[in-house]
Symmetry: C2
Subunit: 193 residues, 2 copies
DNA sequence: CGGTTTCTGGAATGATTGTTCCAGAAACCG
DNA sequence: CGGTTTCTGGAACAATCATTCCAGAAACCG
């Protein structure tokens, strides 16, 4: 029989995701990908198809790995408001940290491609819906715990929170003004009071 | 002496802005620009410098033309809340309309380039600050008119509103679900109550 | 007009793009 | 081992990229 794969597929995809996440689709060349993924050019095409297909797979990978972190944070026991504050503060802190400010991969993909690539738009919609659902469940839990007033349309609030998170992540790409970012977080979370 | 310019500089720049706005920086080729601007390739380089310089000038043009529309809307006499609702509803309507969903040029530029191009980040910051200021003035006017309660930190609310506007514009690139977008608008504006 | 300057269209540039081809090394398993 | 299969590195590919060069047409003003 035949030889086995030398590299770990998931690890290579993870690297690809990081490059696309940091640089976007158009600005990333296949050469960049080959360099960062640590695999052969031909292996890339054999395993993942072409560049566009790899990009879509990277988006899926993001959902499985990065977005899951958000889901876990929201499902953690304890006050929902505190979890939400951690979620938003986390964005601010990572934006003010020294590293590269990549924002949210899904947000970046939406901004760059959703307008002209149906597949990207569909994937972005799917991730939006999943995130919205996670936020909704968290809000529902907060309502049952008496933490959040009953008068609210929680579905609408969940949508609002996701939109706000995307807005905040965009802002944090342009500015390192901590006060400005925290102003946004504070007012956003005030709708829960 | 010499011959005069055949084309109108501002009109050409306006066209360039529209192309960059719709397609982003990397996905726009100089060939695209030449086609849509209706001027000669050499004239483009003579008049605007290289592609990157033209992009930055297009961002300035956006500020002068498109952002001004927002300023005027906010300074129009009448209830501030109504002006803000018009601002946000306008985003929803143009997203649901048949045209191409370009989002906000400044937001697009921030998402695509601010992370790795200082000049773009600076221009985006400048436009953010200008928009925030316009929102702040509008809120101040609303407060004086007794339309908005006095307990709020209006600077923070202005920042929040701009961030929310960017988030909404991003959402509207991925989905045409009117209810979802209007949910976001409704909850966002509820912070003014 | 005529001399000068600038605009214009198109070709040419060299670099880079995404993708594929090829020959050989490497690893599997009967 | 040995036959088979797949991986690997690098070259090769055509297309496109941003940019520049060039020769001629066009328009100005003395």
């Amino acid at each position: 029989m035949a030889r086995h794969k030398e590299f770990d597929r998931d690890e290579a995809l993870q690297r690809a995701m990081e490059v696309f996440w940091a640089r976007g689709y158009e600005a990333t060349s296949v050469g960049d990908l080959v360099g960062h993924m640590g695999i052969n050019r031909q292996s890339l095409y054999d395993t993942f198809g072409d560049k566009h297909s790899l990009y879509l797979q990277a988006l899926d990978r993001y959902r499985e790995v990065e977005a899951r972190k958000m889901f876990e944070l929201l499902e953690r026991p304890g006050p929902v408001k505190r979890a939400l504050r951690q979620l938003f503060e986390g964005v601010v802190e990572s934006a003010l940290g020294g590293g590269e400010r990549r924002g949210c991969f899904v947000g970046n993909a939406t901004s760059e491609l959703a307008g002209r690539c149906r597949q990207t738009a569909d994937k972005a919609c799917g991730q939006m819906a999943a995130a919205e659902e996670a936020l909704y469940r968290a809000l529902l839990r907060g309502k049952k715990a008496g933490e959040i007033g009953g008068g609210r349309d929680l579905r609408a609030v969940a949508r609002f929170l996701y939109s706000s998170l995307q807005g905040l992540q965009l802002m944090s790409k342009a500015t390192r003004d901590r006060k400005a970012l925290e102003d946004v977080v504070r007012v956003t979370l005030s709708v829960l009071d």
